[in-house]
Every structure is written in C-alpha cells, then in structure tokens.
C-alpha cells in the first residue's frame, strides 16, 4: 500500500514536471511581447531591453525554464506583471477561497445526489425514479450562468435569503462567508447533481441484481438492513470515485460560476491573468490546478481501494 502511494507520488511529480514544461512553452508562444505589455506601447527600445534583461527574457529558453522551475520550487513564484504583487500570496489567497466554495458544494451535493440516486435506484422504472431522473437532467441541461442567474433572481432579489454578490474580502473565514457561498455552491451542485444521481442510481440498480442481495434478503433481514449494510457499500464505489475527482474541478474549474457571482476564487483569478497576459500568474494557477487534480485522482483511487477489498494496490 505505502509502496503504491510512493509510486503514485513519483508519477505525480513527473506529471507536474511535464505540465510545467508545457505551461512554460505555451506561455512563451503566446503572441505579444511581455515587456511591451508591461511598459506600454510608447516605451523606448532601451527601456524594453532593460526590462527583458531584468525579467531574464533575453536568455535562451531552456535556461529560462530551469531558472523559473528552480525559483518556483523554492517558493518564489515571481511577481504578477499586472498587479506587481507576489504571485504566491495572490494564488494561495484565492485557492483558500476556492476550497471553501468546493467544500460547501460537496456538503450540499453529496448527501442530496446520493439520496436521490439511491431512491431512484430502489424504485427503478417506477414514477418516482422517472421524476428524479427527468428533474435532475432538466437541471443539468441548463448552463451554469442560467441556473446561477435564476438563483440570484429568486433567492436573492425576490426572497432576499442570500446576497446576490459573493465578492468576499480577503481573509474572510468560512462561517463569516457562508451566506455569500450558498448561491455559487448551489449552482455548482446543480452541475454535479444529475451526473452523480444517475451514477448512484445505476450502481444501486446493478447491485440490487446481485446474488448477495438475495442471500441477505433470504437471511430474513429487513429491507433497510439489506440496502444499508449490503447494497450501498458496493453501489456507492463509483460515486465516491467521481466525487473525489470532481473536487479538482470545483477548485480550478468554476470559471463561469465565480464570474457570475463575482466570487474571488482561482477561476476568476485565471480569467484575470489571461486578460492581462500575466504569465507568472497563469503559470502558477495552472500548476496548482494540475496538482489539485492529480491529488484528487490519487485520493479517489486510495479511497476506492480502501472501500473495496477486492482491489489490492501494489
């Protein structure tokens, strides 16, 4: 087991190195001259050259990559071109915000979608199943900005339950931010809901057909014991994996939702960095997102193995 984790972590390092290389090369290829972006159209050639020298942009590419990588690994993620602030502080602040949003989303989405999925699975092909399936599909069919705007319209503007704007100040804690987190978290929940519900439903339907369910039933166990003790631990395996992986998406992929609600997460920082062609910022966000995705994947696999005795990790 520990061997397996060690090997997976080694793979993870290689993945990150490759990603860093890709990120570096791609940002080099982006059109436009960084020095001119920073100094503006009117800057003189000597000033541009001086800045390039300062930023190390005049050195050969492999050297630039290595020195960038070295600095990155030692915690110096550089200075944001557009704001002049240290990239590390900016990114970690936003990553904290993203984690809060991801956390609340999972807190809402997991019980809800698993519950709906189990109910639909147990009542497969009955009216209740159809209602749940059609309902969750209808919700997922709407783009995030539409569900987001509907939630703002109904829950914020009409019912005044939650604020419409989620632009929390830096350093706000989870409970303090909670009211402002609810609407974006609900929107993200709707994205996950149909998928997770259907996956859970499929798992329950599949497992209910297995011979061991018959064995358990014919032991004379009440139905809730058969489902709770026997079926769920097998039926929820794929769901748990998918949820763990979706954590990566919740951290780094909520670009639309964060923009709709004006929420200062990583996704919005990324759009900001792209707008300003802020290379150090883009590089840091991308690497961090890849890291979170990879760790979420690893976590999903470990969780799956821990819950499924048939899998032996070697």
């Amino acid at each position: 087991m520990s061997r397996y984790v060690a090997r997976r972590l080694a793979f993870l390092v290689i993945t990150l190195l490759l990603t860093s290389l890709i990120v570096f090369v791609v940002t080099q290829w982006l059109p436009g001259d960084v020095a001119r972006v920073i100094l503006g159209r009117e800057a003189s050639e000597p000033a541009l050259a001086a800045l390039r020298a300062e930023l190390g942009l005049d050195k050969p590419l492999p050297l630039q990559y290595l020195s960038w990588l070295g600095r990155f690994l030692t915690g110096d993620w550089g200075t944001s071109y557009s704001t002049g602030l240290p990239v590390r502080d900016l990114v970690l602040e936003r990553a904290g915000n993203s984690t809060m949003l991801a956390g609340l989303t999972l807190l809402i989405a997991v019980p809800l979608s698993v519950f709906l999925g189990v109910v639909a699975g147990l009542k497969a092909d009955k009216p209740l199943d159809a209602t749940i399936s059609i309902g969750s599909l209808a919700v997922v069919g709407l783009p995030e900005f539409v569900t987001g705007l509907i939630l703002i319209e109904v829950l914020a503007l009409r019912l005044h339950l939650f604020p419409a704007n989620s632009s929390i100040r830096p350093g706000t804690g989870f409970f303090e931010a909670l009211p402002q987190l609810v609407l974006p978290a609900l929107t993200a929940t709707f994205v996950l809901l149909a998928y997770v519900t259907r996956l859970t439903r499929a798992g329950v339907v599949e497992e209910m057909r297995q011979g061991y369910v018959r064995t358990a039933t014919l032991k004379g166990l009440p139905r809730r014991t058969v489902v709770g003790r026997h079926v769920l631990r097998n039926a929820l395996l794929p769901t748990i994996t998918v949820l763990a992986i979706s954590f990566g998406w919740l951290i780094g992929g909520l670009i639309v939702i964060e923009n709709v609600f004006n929420y200062p997460g990583l996704g919005r920082l990324m759009t900001f960095a792209i707008d300003r062609r802020d290379l150090p910022l883009m590089q840091a966000i991308t690497l961090l997102t890849v890291l979170v995705f990879a760790l979420a994947n690893l976590g999903a696999d470990l969780l799956y193995a821990a819950l499924n005795p048939r899998i032996r990790l070697e």
């Binding site: 061997r3 060690a6 090997r7 297995q210 011979g211 061991y212 018959r214 064995t215 358990a216 039933t217 014919l218 032991k219 004379g220 166990l221 009440p222 003790r229 026997h230 631990r233 097998n234 819950l307 499924n308 005795p309 048939r310 070697e314």
Partner: protein, 700 residues
C-alpha cells in the same frame, strides 16, 4: 413415510411470468410433499421450471413472476398468503437456500465472519458469543481454520470454500427446509464430491427436509430419497433412486439417462441416444402430452390428450399414456440408435497430426519496487510446465484436469492465442510459431478451435451466414456466392437448416449456437480441432447430440480432436487417448481404455472416483483434501503430494517422481510402482465400482 409429518406440501402449484400482455405458465399444476428428514430431488433441463419452482417455494420470484394457482404449505402454513414481514421470519428461521453461484452470493465487501454472524444473530447476543457460534458453524462444514476464513473476504476463498460458507449459513438456524439449487454445478468434480459428502453427512439423521434441484441425475440419485423429473413445467415422473436406476417409466427420464455418458461408455461402441428436438416453448405448448413432439413412441392419443399423473404399482408417479406398455416391456421407449459410426478412425501409432514437446507457459508475476531493487528473482505462474502431447491423425485426445490445471492455457498456446514461453508445437511436420500473428493462413486453416461458451464466442451483431462465410472466404479463398452456398452445407452438416443463415445468435438456443460455432470451426476443413469445454455448458440432451455430431463429423472429415473437459465421462466417451493434467504437468497418459482401469495415477483415481454416477454409489470414495496449490509456489517433489491419498512419505515431498510405464502407450508419473499401485487400487476399486473390464475389451 406416513409416520413422518410433511414439512413441505406443494399442491397444484402453477407459477406464471407476465411477459408483455401474455402470461406464461412456467410451472403447471405441480404437487409433491417432503417429510422431515427426507431429501427430494428435482431434475430437469433448462426450461423445465425447476428453478422457478424453487424460487416460488422461497417466495422470491422475480417481479414479473406470480403464483397463480395451488398452495405451498410449510408446516401447514400457506406461504403464498403470508405478508412480507412474516415471510421474513420464515426466511430467517425455516427455509434456507444454497444457491448455484457461491461467488456471487456472498457480499464482496464484507468479511465472511460478519456475513455469517448476521445469519446467526437473534438481535441481542454479545458479539463475542455470536462470533464463537459462527466459528463453530464453520467447523461443522469441516473448515479447518475457521478464524482465518472468518477474517477473509469472499474473493480470497476458493469456490468450494465459498460454498461451504453458504452451507454453514444455511444450516445455522437448523431450518425445517433446505433448498439446494444446483449447489455444485460450477465446481470441479473433486470439489463437488467433497461438498456432496458434506451435505449428505450434515443432514443425515436431522429433521431438516431437503429439496435438491439439479440437472444432474447422477448427483440427485446419489443424494436423494425420491427423485422428481420436471419437463417444460410439468412433473412427468416421481420415483425412488432405485427405480431410477432399475426401471424408469417415462420416455423423457429414459431419454435423459441415455443422454449422459456413463463412465466407460465409448462413442464407437455404445453411442449416446440424444432426445430429438428441443424443449417446448411456453407460449406454444402442445395440446396433448408436452413431451409428445420429442417422444420416440408418441401416438395420436399422446398428441391429442394431456396425460394425467398416475400411480405405479411400485409407488411412483408417471405422466404418460403408455407407461403400462413400457413397464411390461411391450414397447421400447428409448430413442432410435443413431446410425453406427465407423468407430475406430485413426490407428494408434500412426503419424501424429499435432505434437507438443515440453510446452511451457509461464506468466510473470509483477515484482514490487522493493523486490526489484533487492534483485529478488521475478516469480512466475507455472500455468503449463513441460507438457508433451501427441494426437494421432483422425484420433481424439482427451485432456482432463481440474480448473487451474493448465489445460486451457495449453490449448491457447497450441492455437497461438497465448504465446508459449518454451517448447515446440508441430502440426504434421510444420513447426508452429508461438504467436498467431506469425502463423500463415494455411496453418490457421488446418488448426481451429471451438470455445467453451458459444454465447461469448459468436458476435451478436453478425448473422450465422456472416460467421460461417468469413473463414470460407479468408482461409479457403471462396467467392462470396460460393461461401454462402458452402455455409448452407456446413449448417446441414451440423444438423441445422440453411434457414439459419440469416439469423443472429440472439435468435438461437444455446445448443444451436454451439452447433454454429462447430460449423465455423469446420468451415476451413481443419486437420486438427481443439474443443475447449465445448459441451460443458449445454443441457445433457443437447450435449449428447453434440458429442454424437462430433463423432460423425470426425468420421466424415477425418479431423483430429483435442477434447478438453473436466468431465471424465464425456472425455472417455469421445477420446481414443487421454492425458490427465495437474498443476501444469501431464501426470498420466494412455489409451482411454487403459485410463479407466488400475493402475492409475492417484490423481486420476481421485478424479474417477469423484464422478457422480447413477449406478453404483459406494461410500468408500477417494476425496482430495484442500484446494489446488498455488501455481506460483509449486509444491516440492511430486506436485500432487500435498493432496495425494496414496502418499508414500518423504520421497514424494522431496523427489520428482519418475514416469512409470505399465503397457505400451500408458505412462504415469508417480513413485509407486505399477504392481503396488494396482494392488492398492483394485482392492479399493471394488467398493468404488470402477467400470468393469468387459471380456474382449481389454485386448482391443
């Protein structure tokens, strides 16, 4: 029997399945009863309704199934009328089911101990006490190390061990009725024998009533006090095992008996008599006797009027208009003998069609990183470990062994689906490359294979015509038109009409699919055909007709067969020569005749002894303890020593046994010399009822 009270009483039971608008009666008007301590066998082929009947008694029918007539009484209580909560009590305390598939019937994510505790639990005993009782229960089903088994997950146990756990679970609360639904069908013969012994012993002298459901007449006859034969949802005969052995009366029962090869029965001498046709469909039942369309002695009356179940003077029940004539010996209700096939095809000692020399297949076991760093040598699964086989032209070599013996891997190496690690494979005088991709079309044409499961071997989206035309065009170079015509002829050869050309596998029965698979293999007119468990999954009557078909095709086409099976009776029926494999090695080879008489390798002896038989059932049987050892860490010395009933001592544990030759062509690998082995085995053979050596046969 009258002094016993009946535990189970089934009266006029009809069970129906809703299918769309229609309601199909899968079980019709079945009545029987089982007394305390009695065991009742229910025999039938697929479609007979035996599983439906068992599930109806359990009140565990699928959602579209319903008891539409009659009563099921357990201890006087009508189960069909019970609400679910009360049925839960019945499930918990009174009726238990041991299912066919032990692997799927245990929860893969829960430890055995927890699953067993659950079956024992009354709701308020202490955990420790409960676990102690669970361990005791495991000991009862002769599990030697109950602590280890209780701490295991199901996948860590062998099939036989899983089935013991399920039996332990079923017997935990001393149920009044135990239903065993094909409990040994998926197990090896050696394991099956052990499990059957266990069931026999556990219920002996108990008050538990047993319903044993099986397709295997031999198994049922050896375990039950009474046997009922079910056909297309109706009970056609009900009799004692003695009557079954001596004189069954219903033509279907006779047909079943004649479809199963007895140990020692040979295709060339005494062909099987398969039942013609296929089982009646539930939506098109005949007006008269349900068996009339397949019955060799059906008359007009049989086709017009459904017969009643009548009592025979011997106390049996039979549903046939002509049973009195059959009982009096006035008609022969057995099927017509198939046209005698010119029996001995190839001659022994003639040039071989296929030869393997020291065939080896090792699968590497992945090393862990630490092992690789420490330079620990990589470990291997020794699937096939030096197997030399020889099949004479137009002859059949039977290859026998338990699952895990390496017989299928050997076959796959021969056809090239798996690349061998070492050794030679020679087809006539062509040395074959290890991999299929480096063999040319001529080799593919001459060497073909039929797989075990026709359901998986045929592409469900291709018509039978496509399946047959492909090898004809690719390997025989025929044009599309010629190929189609030839495909029609192939179908005729496997006794299907050319109307099947445009059907897809989904429209065929299991037996028809296997015929198509055989026709496909014969399309290229191969010199050697490998049949890997090709009849094992089929109903006995279908199996019989396929076995006969293979014999006929061999006579017509002159192909040599490698016939792989765990079923010794089927192998000895078809094969000229037999090789027995154990843990990747051949332990005995000889002619089929030689292999059935002492001396044999102790492993072959155990295999023979494990075959369930309708005739002679002696208690003094040889049983193999434990499971097949790991093919990674092979036992030292003789590979069989860990389970050998004839173990000599240290020599077996330390030294590889030599080949002992008893007669030309017959060799076995053992430390015991032929004379001694014969002496041991002849004395125990009298109790075991080895096939008697008949006059003249020995010298043949």
């Amino acid at each position: 029997m009258a002094s016993f009270s009946n535990v189970l009483e089934i009266d006029g039971l009809t069970v129906s399945y809703r299918r769309g608008q229609k309601s199909l009666d899968a079980v019709r008007n079945v009545s029987f009863s089982i007394a305390a301590g009695q065991s009742y066998g229910l025999v039938g082929e697929s479609g007979s309704g035996k599983s439906t009947l068992a599930l109806a008694i359990m009140q565990y029918l699928p959602e579209n199934g319903l008891v539409t007539g009659g009563t099921i009484r357990l201890g006087g209580q009508d189960l069909a009328a019970l609400p679910r909560e009360q049925m839960q009590q019945v499930w918990r305390d009174q009726i238990k089911l041991v299912p066919q598939d032990p692997g799927a019937s245990l929860n893969p994510s829960l430890r055995i101990g927890d699953q067993l505790d659950e079956a024992l639990c009354d709701g308020n005993e202490a955990r420790d006490e409960l676990r102690q009782r669970s361990l005791e229960q495991l000991r009862q089903v002769r599990i030697a190390d109950p602590e280890r088994v209780a701490a295991s997950y199901p996948h860590q146990l062998s099939g036989g061990m899983q089935q013991r756990v399920l039996i332990a679970m079923a017997l935990a609360r001393q149920p009044s009725l135990l239903i065993l639904d094909e409990p040994t069908t998926n197990l090896d013969v050696t394991t099956e024998a052990v499990i059957l012994d266990l069931v026999r012993d556990l219920v002996h002298g108990q008050r538990t009533a047993i319903l044993y459901v099986s397709h295997n007449l031999g198994v049922v006859a050896s375990i039950c006090d009474r046997v009922a034969v079910l056909y297309a949802g109706e009970l056609v005969e009900d009799l004692t095992p003695q009557q079954l052995r001596r004189r069954p009366l219903h033509p279907y029962t006779l047909g079943l008996l004649d479809s199963v090869p007895r140990l020692g029965q040979r295709a060339g001498v005494d062909p099987l008599l398969p039942i013609a046709g296929t089982i009646a469909r539930l939506d098109a039942l005949p007006a008269g006797c349900v068996f009339a369309p397949r019955c060799p002695i059906a008359q007009q009356l049989c086709r017009d009027l459904r017969p009643e179940l009548e009592e025979t003077p011997e106390g049996g029940l039979v549903r046939c208009h002509r049973w009195r004539e059959i009982a009096a010996g006035m008609v022969d209700a057995r099927a017509d003998r198939p046209a005698a096939v010119a029996s001995q095809n190839g001659v022994s000692g003639a040039a071989s069609a296929l030869r393997t020399e020291a065939l080896v297949k090792h699968f590497p076991v992945r090393r862990t990183l630490a092992e690789a760093l420490r330079r620990t040598p990589a470990r291997q699964v020794h699937a096939v470990d030096g197997v030399s086989l020889q099949i004479g032209q137009q002859r059949t070599l039977g290859l026998v062994g338990e699952s895990g013996s390496g017989k299928t891997t050997a076959a796959r190496c021969i056809v090239g689906l798996v690349e061998r690690t070492g050794g030679q494979v020679t087809l006539f005088d062509i040395a074959l490359a290890p991999g299929l991709d480096r063999r040319d079309a001529a080799v593919l044409r001459r060497l073909q294979m039929v797989f075990q499961n026709p359901e998986e071997a045929l592409n469900p989206h291709r018509t039978v015509g496509d399946v047959l035309q492909r090898p004809l065009m690719r390997l025989m170079g025929l044009s599309a038109g010629e190929a189609r015509q030839q495909a029609g002829e192939l179908l005729e050869a496997v006794r299907l009409s050319s109307a099947y050309l445009d059907r897809t596998p989904g429209q065929l029965s299991g037996g028809e699919k296997q015929r198509v698979a055989i026709a496909r293999a014969f399309a290229s007119n191969p010199d050697v055909l490998i049949l890997d468990e090709s009849v094992s999954a089929l109903d006995v009557s279908v199996q019989a007709s396929i076995l006969n078909l293979l014999t006929e095709l061999q006579a017509e086409q002159g192909s040599a067969y490698l016939f792989i099976s765990h079923d010794l009776a089927a192998v000895s029926y078809l094969a000229d020569d037999i090789a027995v494999m154990y843990l990747g090695q051949v332990v005995e080879t000889g002619s089929a005749e030689q292999m059935l008489h002492p001396p044999f390798h102790p492993y072959s002896e155990a295999l023979l002894s494990a075959v369930p038989r309708i005739d002679a059932a002696g208690p003094e049987r040889i049983r193999l303890p434990g499971d097949l050892p790991s093919a990674i860490d092979l036992p030292s010395g003789c590979r069989f020593h860990t389970r050998c009933p004839r173990l000599l001592g240290d020599i077996c544990r330390t030294q590889e046994p030599p080949w002992q030759e008893t007669a030309p062509g017959h060799r076995y690998r053992c430390h015991i010399a032929p004379d001694e082995l014969t002496a041991m085995q002849v004395s125990s053979g009298e109790q075991n009822g080895w096939p008697r050596r008949e006059m003249g046969e020995a010298s043949r």
